[in-house]
């Protein structure tokens, strides 16, 4: 931070000027998109995404994000009350709020998947911005609230996990998805099995192998 430096003057000199970069954090983009999307087309988007349309994911994000915020809110509230809770139960509620009762099973599974993916995006995006946010650097785009929400240690941990997960995906795609659903989506083993359409036994085995692999990977980079 250049406390002693007259910022107006700096603008004229052109060199070494800390300028406000217009930064577009993921949640701002999501909030904008929210305005153009309603719950009605959720099912359609889920189908499109399942069929491999990446743009559908981008359009799903705002809806899911909104639900995630509700989930987080409830989570914090219940935590304050001293209740333990199942994140997946909250994700289920979120889904039911969004769609009518006649949903096909596969859509629900995909809703879970998209929730986990969105959560991962948001957290990693936040962690990346947070990493250099002590001061200077990109700190200017991180508000006090944001900074307080995630510690530097946590940001580093998430980024390391993200990198490890990407590596794992190259080696064993399914295991990386199991981790994504369970860790970022908060799904139980059973729901993960349902979402990936594999047996519970497979999820258990994938989970323990992935956990060992990721843990070792993170220890190596420490």
């Amino acid at each position: 931070m250049f406390i002693l430096i007259d910022r107006k003057r700096e603008k004229k000199t052109k060199v070494f000027i800390p300028e406000q970069k217009t930064f577009d954090p993921i949640d701002a983009r999501i909030r904008r998109a929210m305005k153009t999307l309603t719950a009605d087309n959720l099912t359609g988007l889920l189908v499109e995404w399942r069929e491999g349309d990446q743009a559908a994911f981008d359009r799903l994000m705002p809806l899911v994000y909104d639900q995630l915020r509700r989930i987080a809110h409830r989570y914090v509230q219940r935590e304050r009350n001293g209740h333990t809770l199942q994140t997946s139960a909250l994700v289920n509620e979120a889904y039911l709020r969004l769609v009518d009762q006649h949903v096909v099973w596969q859509n629900r599974a995909h809703f879970f998947a998209v929730t986990a993916r969105v959560m991962r995006h948001i957290l990693i995006d936040h962690a990346r911005r947070r990493r250099y946010a002590k001061h200077g650097g990109e700190a200017r785009q991180v508000s006090i609230e944001e900074a307080a929400a995630m510690s530097m240690e946590r940001a580093a941990e998430l980024i390391a996990l993200e990198e490890a997960l990407d590596e794992l995906a190259k080696l064993d795609q399914r295991k990386s998805r199991v981790v994504e659903l369970r860790y970022f989506g908060g799904l139980s083993l059973e729901e993960t099995a349902e979402a990936l359409n594999i047996s519970l036994m497979t999820v258990r085995r994938d989970w323990r192998a992935a956990k060992a692999w990721l843990y070792r990977r993170l220890k190596e980079t420490e």
Partner: protein
């Protein structure tokens, strides 16, 4: 590793995991016989699995819910609670969140405090809360925050009070040292409010700077009267005989009374004993001490340490404080001592006694400026009673003394003059920076840069002209801000450097202890905070070294302690030492460490990697600067100025006479 190989590894891993832990090693040894790589893979994975514990078992949301909630983390803005509509969040305390709200019935602004959820789950406490809060709301005094209403709406318990547009004493203290008159005025206002409350049988129990607000017109308001008691478990306050009930004490802690700061707590509170109005007298004494000395009387690295200090330690004398009040301290010392007596019985019995003493102190302070003659008639009486012979002898002695003193003074002053001349002869005459030509300035800066670099322990690197010019840009900028009123105007560079000296010994100690060049410690605050110990930067960065609360926490400094130079300085030294360690070999260039302080060691290393192979390559900030065009934009925009501005700050601070500053070179204050 290829995916096929991973499948082999996984098969062994899974089979091993299906076996009891004790059999796994021998199983792997059997299966992997002859394939060392497979064996190592399986063994390390098994070890990782066994060590992983609950790694990633808790979903991310459990830790990161607040990230999703973002700025309306508390989701309450716009919410209606009874007749109140919440406008914005003002803050949070041990007693829950405080909001600015609109009373829709009277369309007036109120401060609305929402009680923590755990509160509502305890019926007995809730009843007590209501009766106590009503008693407190009956208090009527200009210095006590008016409680409008205590109520419940949809399960949310709230207290609506008068909204004060002002600052807390804590905030004011962090901004600047309070003038003595204001300190005494503050004590008087608080004490007179306490007198009324104590007469009504209400003890505040949580007097602290954050609970005292100053309205813009100077009127003080004490917040949260009688509230702290409500946070204690019923058992403690209702059965004072049962003081050694450890379970009660535990609840007391859990209930959140000591969730806030413990520094103002009385010894009896720290021990969980029943309290009376003398607890408020203690806490007011702590506040008084803090305002006078600009530091807390009792502190500790942890809450337990602070409590131990409260119970066992005597605070430093006020006269030892490093601020303007040290002079007035002796008059106030006995008052502070009488508030901060560990034994309840040794303190003022009532606030009125304290107010009486305060009045005396004020008179003494007012009288101090008057001539001493009238107050000490004894001296005259002594001389008049002496015989004329004695008086003449006395006159002779007096003359002699004056003569000797005169000779000594004369000799001393000539010696001083001589040393001045010799000094002037040995060094070249000082030319003011403002009188130098452009070329002279550049030469001066180049020469001084080398000197500062060697003080930092850097290998000498000849700077290219553009680097020198960059530093000069900052020197010129600082020099243009030399003028201006000294102490008050924090923007004046003169003021910045004049604030620095008291901190240098602490900085020298802290940085030397971490083997970080002391000069880094001396000049970072110049560019970070302008040597304002509580300068609040963007994003909650605070203190001399401008840490963010989260970073400070990692280095053991809580958000409340960030303005405490005693805490933050060692933390800053530690932080930089960590960067030196992280940079390893690259840390040989301390200028890189400096850069890493602003931008992170990993980033520094990435940048070095980018310019490696450049013809002028050296592991040095100046190489990065010379190759800035090849580096990412953020270097050019945000980081490139950091190190040069540091050098500019150091060049001025090490050559104060060249810049017309009346201080010694700052590094000479660091001692051996």
């Amino acid at each position: 590793m290829r995916a096929e190989r991973w499948q082999e590894v996984e098969t062994v891993l899974q089979d091993a995991l299906d076996r009891p832990p004790l059999e796994r090693a021998s199983f792997i040894a059997d299966v992997c016989a002859g394939d060392e790589e497979l064996k190592t893979e399986a063994t390390t994975l098994i070890a990782a699995y066994e060590e992983a514990g609950d790694f990633i078992e808790q979903p991310a949301i459990a830790r990161d819910a607040y990230v999703l909630l973002g700025d309306d983390a508390h989701g309450s803005v716009g919410r209606e609670i009874g007749p109140y509509r919440i406008n914005e969040r003002l803050g949070a305390g041990g007693m829950g969140e405080v909001y600015l709200a609109n009373d829709t019935r009277l369309s007036r602004l109120v401060a609305l405090k929402l009680l923590p959820v755990y509160f509502a789950s305890d019926d007995a406490r809730l009843r007590r809360f209501q009766s106590e809060a009503r008693a407190a709301s009956a208090l009527n005094h200009p210095n006590i925050l008016t409680i409008y209403e205590v109520g419940e709406s949809d399960g949310a318990y709230f207290i609506a009070t008068e909204f004060i547009d002002g600052k807390t004493i804590g905030e004011l203290m962090r901004e600047q040292e309070l003038p003595l008159a204001e300190i005494l005025d503050c004590v008087e206002q608080v004490a007179s409010a306490l007198a009324v409350a104590h007469a009504a049988g209400i003890v505040h129990r949580d007097i602290k700077p954050e609970n005292i607000m100053r309205r813009r017109d100077g009127l003080l308001k004490i917040l949260d009267f009688g509230i702290a008691k409500l946070l204690e478990p019923a058992k403690l306050s209702e059965t004072p005989d049962d003081v050694h009930d450890t379970a009660g004490y535990r609840t007391h802690t859990e209930a959140g009374l000591v969730l806030g700061t413990v520094n103002y707590m009385s010894p009896e509170q720290a021990r969980g004993l029943p309290v009376d109005e003398r607890t408020d007298i203690w806490s007011l004494g702590v506040v008084l001490y803090e305002m006078l000395a600009s530091r807390l009387p009792f502190t500790g690295a942890t809450r337990m340490d602070a409590m131990v200090a409260i119970l066992d330690r005597e605070p430093a004398r006020l006269s030892e404080a490093a601020n303007n009040h040290a002079r007035s301290a002796p008059l106030l010392q006995s008052m502070v001592d009488k508030c901060l007596c560990k034994e309840i019985s040794g303190r003022y019995r009532t606030v009125s006694e304290l107010l009486a003493d305060l009045k005396t102190v004020r008179e003494q302070l007012d009288g101090r400026a008057e001539p001493a003659t009238e107050k000490q008639p004894g001296a005259w009486r002594l001389t008049t009673r002496l015989s004329p012979r004695f008086v003449s002898l006395f006159a002779v002695v007096l003359l002699l003394v004056i003569a000797i003193a005169g000779v000594l003074l004369y000799r001393r002053s000539t010696r001083l003059n001589q040393s001045d001349t010799t000094k002037a002869l040995s060094t070249r005459p000082v030319k003011l920076y403002s009188q130098m030509s452009e070329r002279e300035r550049l030469d001066f800066i180049a020469e001084q840069e080398q000197r500062i670099s060697s003080m930092m322990g850097d290998r000498p690197v000849k700077l290219d002209e553009s680097a020198v010019r960059t530093i000069k840009t900052y020197v010129d900028r600082y020099a243009s801000r030399m003028s201006g009123p000294a102490v008050e105007d924090s923007g004046s560079i003169t003021a910045v450097y004049e604030r620095a000296p008291p901190y240098i010994p602490l900085i020298a100690r802290s940085f030397a202890a971490r083997k970080v060049p002391v000069i880094i410690g001396i000049y970072l605050p110049v560019i970070e905070s302008g040597y304002r110990p509580c300068s609040a930067g963007n994003f909650g960065a605070k203190g001399l070294y401008q840490f963010l609360p989260s970073t400070a926490r990692i280095y053991g400094v809580s958000r409340q302690e960030m303005c405490d130079a005693e805490k933050m300085t060692p933390a800053a030294a530690h932080y930089i030492a960590d960067h030196m360690a992280e940079l390893g070999e690259d840390a040989q260039s301390v200028t890189l460490v400096l850069l890493s302080y602003n931008r992170g060691a990993g980033w520094v290393r990435d940048s070095l990697r980018q310019v490696r192979g450049a013809e002028n390559y050296a592991r040095n900030f100046w190489t990065l600067l010379a190759n800035r065009e090849t580096l990412d934009e953020s270097f050019r925009k945000e980081t490139a100025g950091y190190v040069p501005s540091f050098f500019a700050a150091a060049i001025i601070g090490e050559n104060p006479e060249v810049f017309g500053l009346h201080i010694p070179p700052l590094s000479t204050l660091a001692g051996g």
